[in-house]
Symmetry: C2
Subunit: 336 residues, 2 copies
């Protein structure tokens, strides 16, 4: 199922053991970045009220005209995401579906999500479920099963979404992340811990100073500790971190605290972040940073007033080239 | 749809305005607690591998024998939750479905969740979606639409789950909660912010001292500020807080910082929390604290070795009586 990514995933039945070496998430991601020459992550956060017109045309058929709004909207969302993936896959390394946008369509939304994940996978892209889940114990495990693993049942194993990675919240403390790590590692999947988010108010909590460092530095410590057992030959571990591109001053500081973490960088474009400020992310190599862009790509035509697919492709290409050049500079400077 | 709860819900189309007075969540909850004489919240975190035997029998029919595991498990989970609700509804004021346990069953799990919510509502119970969601901006709004509101689409409005409240994570900062507050308030629904969780490691982050107070005190400030616009005649606002019953020393401190917040108290039973330690929660009145119990109720028969429904009902009744007596003591002491 995940064989398109150039490295095997060795899961162990007991779910306990660390995966390192070529099958680990860090190495898988690294291989994909190098092969596709891109660090761009296509964010998928479809709003039924803002879909590409072509997506609405595609679901205009008589067979769904009498279906409930959720079913029709889910079909349109699925079509929109497929068009978007087809338009920009070549420029990207991964997709990042925002779970909220599918969940608000109920069961039909979940089915649409499954289709979108399949489409992304067929296009050779990794899938990062932007779930921002955080819970304890059995509930944390259940979320990890939902997105990365599978759930045992008397009726047989129930496959999860099969994402390659998911975002998780550290708010409940490091122990709340352990079940996520166990399930992820057994599946050779990865996690991205929300260390420093991109919204204006994130710093009001995450940048607060504690005795001995800020809250985000504390959480960066969680990431490094949890990832230390699975640093692959790429130098990257399976436990990454979300670090907003809107706080470049924090980036270098956090890179030092998390030398092996893949940084998933949101906030470029409408939120104000700039690719040029992201060099420290690439310290460990080209795959040390991956850049999430959703509105910047999907809504590019709203600025250029042209065909959405063409505008999206152009913007994705622009981002890709900027990041690739930046990471090259960084890599050559470091001799990596 | 929510008319069984003795108070009207006045939503405004623009989603902006505060709801206070008899329709606010605090007052609605207060009315339910007083009418049902219970502060017990039935946690629903069904594990397909640990369902009541009767639930498995109920889905043994030939019509589903050839269905995929997820469909069969979702049916069994739905039957289990229905049996559990029927057994203990009389002792409870609300149910708290753990979203992870439904999401891991995919689209069939989401359909089961919708049925379980309907069943709880028919039994006169409030519904608190234990989602622990936290996200920014449009994504936060999308989650709020999924659980508390509805989503506009070109095909018509898409109804959400219709929960009366949901749990939210403050990890992304106070601004990340604003969209949740807006949607919740427009629906006269409530939020429970994760202020101090019940797992052993929660304190490692949440109890950390900052200049001017702990991290959890900072977040308690978010709760009080966000709730100040909607304190009802009950003295309770629509912005509640999750405060673990496992840290009673924090409870009185946090109550002072959040005088109008309903405290949703997890951790009683297997996690070590005791009802007797929860008196400070009831400072603002009987509905000032509501106690979540899932395993303590659903797994009661594993200790007593009797019929699951009987054991569950007995444990729920025991918890209810202990909490009710404690809140009475508290209320009379305060002259409330």
């Amino acid at each position: 199922m995940r064989t398109g990514f150039g490295s095997s995933r060795s899961a162990r039945a007991d779910g306990s053991a660390a995966v390192s070496g070529p099958g680990s998430f860090g190495d898988r991601l690294s291989e994909c970045v190098m092969r596709r020459e891109s660090q761009i992550v296509l964010g998928l956060d479809p709003d039924p009220a803002l879909l590409w017109p072509r997506a609405l045309e595609l679901v205009g058929g008589a067979d769904v005209a009498s279906a409930p709004p959720a079913v029709r909207a889910a079909r349109a969302v699925e079509a929109h995401c497929a068009l978007l993936i087809d338009a920009v896959a070549e420029q990207c390394v991964a997709v990042k579906p925002q779970l909220a946008c599918f969940e608000r369509l109920g069961a039909p939304g979940w089915s649409a999500l499954v289709s979108v994940v399949r489409r992304a996978r067929e296009a050779g892209l990794l899938v990062i479920a932007d779930a921002k889940r955080g819970d304890i114990d059995r509930s944390a495990r259940a979320y990890a099963q939902a997105f990365l693993g599978s759930t045992p049942s008397p009726f047989g194993a129930i496959a999860g979404l099969g994402a390659d990675a998911m975002t998780v919240s550290p708010w409940l403390g490091q122990d709340s992340l352990v079940a996520f790590v166990e399930v992820a590692r057994a599946a050779a999947a990865g996690l991205f811990v929300l260390v420093r988010n991109s919204n204006p108010g994130a710093g009001r909590l995450q940048d607060r100073e504690l005795a001995g460092g800020s809250v985000s530095a504390l959480v960066a410590g969680f990431v490094t500790e949890l990832g230390s057992a699975a640093v692959g030959s790429s130098g990257l571990s399976d436990i990454g971190a979300v670090v907003g591109a809107t706080a470049p001053d924090q980036l270098a500081r956090l890179r030092k605290l998390m030398p092996h973490a893949v940084m998933l960088l949101p906030g470029v474009g409408p939120q104000g972040g700039r690719v040029a400020d992201l060099a420290p992310a690439f310290g460990p190599g080209r795959a040390g940073g991956i850049i999430a862009a959703s509105r910047a790509i999907a809504d590019a035509h709203r600025l250029t007033r042209g065909d959405p697919a063409t505008a999206a492709r152009r913007e994705a290409a622009r981002l890709r080239e900027a990041a690739w050049a930046l990471s090259d500079l960084r890599a050559s400077r470091l001799g990596a």
